[in-house]
Structure formats: structure tokens, C-alpha cells
Subunit: 239 residues, 2 copies
Amino acid sequence: MPVPRDAASRRSGIPDATVARLPIYLRVLGAFAESGLPTVSSEGLAAAAGVGSAKLRKDLSHLGSYGTRGVGYDVEYLVYQISRALGLTQHYPVAIIGVGNLGHALANYAGFGTRGFQIAALVDADPRRAGEVIAGIEIRHLDELETIIKEHEISIGVIATPAAAAQDVCDRLVACGVTSVLNFAPTVLAVPESVDVRKVDLSIELQILAFHEQRKSAGLHGEPGVAVPDVVRTSVASA
Amino acid sequence: MPVPRDAASRRSGIPDATVARLPIYLRVLGAFAESGLPTVSSEGLAAAAGVGSAKLRKDLSHLGSYGTRGVGYDVEYLVYQISRALGLTQHYPVAIIGVGNLGHALANYAGFGTRGFQIAALVDADPRRAGEVIAGIEIRHLDELETIIKEHEISIGVIATPAAAAQDVCDRLVACGVTSVLNFAPTVLAVPESVDVRKVDLSIELQILAFHEQRKSAGLHGEPGVAVPDVVRTSVASA
DNA sequence: CGTCGCTTGTGAACAGGTGCACAAAGCGCT
DNA sequence: AGCGCTTTGTGCACCTGTTCACAAGCGACG
Ligand SMILES: NC(=O)c1ccc[n+]([C@@H]2O[C@H](COP(=O)([O-])OP(=O)(O)OC[C@H]3O[C@@H](n4cnc5c(N)ncnc54)[C@H](O)[C@@H]3O)[C@@H](O)[C@H]2O)c1
Ligand SMILES: NC(=O)c1ccc[n+]([C@@H]2O[C@H](COP(=O)([O-])OP(=O)(O)OC[C@H]3O[C@@H](n4cnc5c(N)ncnc54)[C@H](O)[C@@H]3O)[C@@H](O)[C@H]2O)c1
């Protein structure tokens, strides 16, 4: 029985690009709701979210036909529908592994819990850190990792360890049932296909910005649109 | 004079998707270089970077025809070429605005300076923070923002203030010449077209993971690929 | 020097995502 | 009820990016 639906539909019914934007809409809608606005047009919402209105309408159309022609979308109802589509009607406990500089900031981050996420565990390899309490959560030692993950039925792990430890930690998380990982360490993690990994990488972001900076300054004293000037293959190591 | 080159070429010669991956290749190549490996095949490099080998070859082909058929790519030379393409032969001073939990972590982050970036200034609105020294840099008060940016000729700004202050800070940065912004605050920033903004948003990442989590657990006790069940439009506010 | 095996670079097909433009649909006003 | 104004939802064309598959190129080896 061939089911030649397109790949996006086969997986979830909602395209990845849309899923990545839904949280932005959700946040903007939250602000609208607080200011008491009952409805928004696609135009208004799109402007606030920094996207085109057609794209926004197409995104929302994947969730269903909410919205009233001639009027717009009911803010509260749309918040509910997007939340439901994203799976935010459930609460997800998360564990943070590696409570150094970054891990501390994450643990203290208030915006964490606002949308259905709750820090259930903090884990670090350094025995001196064990026992320290941050934001009401006690740091536990790495030895207890498996116990803690299973005890709290954690399915989302946040890795904030040094790069060298990340793959190891990730393997252990996956082994005890974690199926989603948010990785702050600058490494490519290898995981089974059934596990989702997203990465947040500061230095990659900066390097992308640097690329565009270079483009801009090159344009100032040269032809716009010229290719990168080629260099003779000499003195490689000197640069 | 019509110049119907494709849009990617018109902008820079290198597609955006490729630019976003080059830093990953660069990091992996760095590891290879340290372990003394003289050359890599596209297969080997692709595996370490977590991409397909064809994609990697196409990416590299946008920089030029480095690489030797039957052999692979010279690791050191490729590092140099990618660095050059990304504009990392120059050094970029960056400013961090907002030195709270997150700002402190960023300022202490060693991996920052490793690839041509250097923290040139720390700025915070809280007068009690002014004078504090982190990683050898003194925190300055927000009032001095314009002076500092111009003094150091900073073109890349990192915003780590609360969301409410982000747009304001961004406007001021742009006004004194900053052309690239890395935004950690959960807000959509409005900027002129000539300015690049990239955002790092923890809660968006988590929400995307939550979406996939939901998909997985739905699959366990239902049909895979079913659409989201529709709900009657009642009791909107109750959820 | 010719041949063989390996790996690059790329044309071409494909897939996913975007933006335009408009018909369909609801609302309010007369 | 009818009309006109507004805004949604979507078909369609376009464009960017991915994947496949293979000819061309290079080194090694006999
Ligand atoms: N600090 C930043 O702003 C920043 C920015 C981007 C990326 N990162 C990355 O985030 C990671 C953490 O950065 P940081 O500045 O917090 O470093 P850090 O050295 O301050 O903290 C690392 C923590 O991880 C713990 N740890 C080490 N091995 C562990 C293991 N196997 N299991 C559990 N915990 C372990 C250490 O005890 C330490 O507390 C690094 O990979 C870094 O590259 C940091
Ligand atoms: N802490 C995290 O892990 C984390 C994660 C993701 C996103 N964020 C976001 O990053 C931002 C900072 O988070 P944080 O935890 O460091 O908050 P924080 O409250 O600890 O720090 C904010 C700092 O910004 C300063 N500030 C306020 N207004 C300012 C202004 N107009 N100009 C300059 N400085 C100003 C404050 O004095 C304070 O030092 C927030 O927008 C937060 O939502 C934080």
C-alpha cells in the first residue's frame, strides 16, 4: 500500500521550518495577550514576529483552520492551539549535566520554567560541587546520573560539560532513555536515529556573523558581488 | 544590464547553508590537525562533521577546487582556506552588553578568543557592576556605550540583557556603527536591512525538542503518521 | 608507460520552503 | 437581504538546498 504523502506530512503533519517558527509566534502572542488585544491579523502578528504575512498564514494553516476571514485570529485560542501543536500541554522535566559557568546561568534562568519546562536535576562530575543548591535544586554527582534520570523519567537532557566529556555524557543519557538532547558543548554528537539533538554553539554563530562582516567591508572598497579573490598556493602555514 | 546570477552567488558566492556548516568543518579539521593527520577524504571529514559526503564536497567546491582526486584534502591547507572564506584572517573585537548570569558565563568563556574573536568591552546598566573585572576586562556603565563602541571600532555586539531592554540596546549599537548582533534575549529585534542579527534562544530550542518528544510518545500508543486529533472549539481559556 | 583503484567535483533530478496573487468567506452597515 | 470591505487559506511558480550518480583526475604500482 503506497502512501506517497510528502515527507513532512509523513513525519508529523507540520514542516520543520514551521515548527521552528511556532515558538516565536507563541511568544509574540503572549505579549499581545498581556496587552489585552483580543485578535490579531496575520499582518500584525507577522510584523511582530519578523516574518512575511503569507508565510505566517501558511504556517498556521498547518495546524488547522483557526482564524476568521475579515477579522484575524483570536489571540488566546491561537496560543492554545500552538501550545497544543508543540506538545506544551504536557510538562517536560529536564536535566542539566555540567554545572559550570554556563550550567549555573542556565539553572538560574527564570524563563526556563515559563513554558512547560522544569529543571528536575543538576549533575556535575566535580565532587566539590555536589550538594550545592541552585534555584532550589541540589547538584548531584555524575555517578548518580542513571538513577536520577530514571527516577524523574527525564526525556530531555541539556549538556553543558566541556567538549571532551560531551559524547560520553550523551551516550549515558541515551542509554537510560533520554530521547532529546540540547548540546552546548562545541562537538558533533553521535546518537541513534531515534534521538533528537539540537545544538547551541556560540562560536559558530560568531563565525557566521564574521563572514557577513567580511562581505560588508569588502564591498566598501571594491566591486559589490565580486568573488573571493584567489590566492596563490604558497606559504600556507604562514597565515 | 541584467545580471541574472542566482541569488546566493549575487550575495557572496557561498550559499547560506554552506556558510553555516563551514565552522563545523573548521572545528573538526582542527582536531584532525592536532592528531597529526595530513589529509582527509570527504568521507572521513563528513562522518566527523555529521553530514553526507556529497554535501561536504559541494560545500567545499564553493570555496574553490582544493583537494586532490584519489587522495583527499590537505588538512592544514583546508583549515586556511575555510578560515579565509569565513573572514577569520581578521580579528573582530566584540562587546557584550548585559553582564548578568549569562553575560558572566560568556565573558569567562575561553573558547571565545580561540577563533579570532576577542572581548573588547563589557557593558551593564547596573552602576553597582561598573568597575568589576571579569577575565581581565572591566565592566563599564551603559552611559559610556557609544564612546566604547567607537573607541574600539566594534562591529559585532552581543546582547545579554533582559528582553525588555534588548531593542533599546540594539538601536544604540546600530546607531554607533555595529553591523552584526548576536542576541540572547528572547525578543525579535528590528534592525535596518544592512545589519545582521542572529539569535540564540534556549526556550525555542526546548520547544522544538518538545514537539518531537510529543511525536515520539504519540507513536507509542497510536498510529504513526496520524494527524493531530481535532478538538472542538470549547473552553478556550481553561487550558 | 599503461593500467587500476580511489576520490574529487559536478550535472541533474528531487525535495522542501517561500512569496505572490486571488478566490472564498465572514462581518458590519445600510 | 444585499453589498462592500477586510482578511484568511491556498494553488502555483520560483528558488534554495540536498542527494544521487558518474566522468574526470590523480597517484601508485607493476
Ligand atoms: N561559558 C559560555 O559562555 C559558553 C558558551 C558557549 C559554549 N560553552 C560550552 O559549554 C560548556 C560548558 O562551559 P562552561 O563555561 O560552563 O565550562 P566550565 O568549565 O565552567 O563548566 C564545566 C562543568 O562541567 C563539569 N564536568 C566536567 N566533566 C563532566 C562530566 N563528564 N559530567 C558532568 N559534568 C562534568 C565540570 O565539573 C564543570 O563544572 C563547554 O563545552 C563550553 O565550550 C560555554
Ligand atoms: N541565563 C540563561 O541561561 C539564559 C538563557 C537563555 C536566555 N537568556 C536571556 O539572556 C538575557 C540575560 O539573562 P541573564 O540570566 O543573564 O539575566 P540577568 O538578569 O542575570 O542579567 C541581566 C543583566 O543585564 C543588565 N541590564 C539590564 N538592562 C540593561 C541595559 N539596558 N543595558 C545594559 N545592561 C542591562 C542587568 O544589570 C543585569 O546585569 C535575558 O534576556 C534572558 O532571557 C538567559
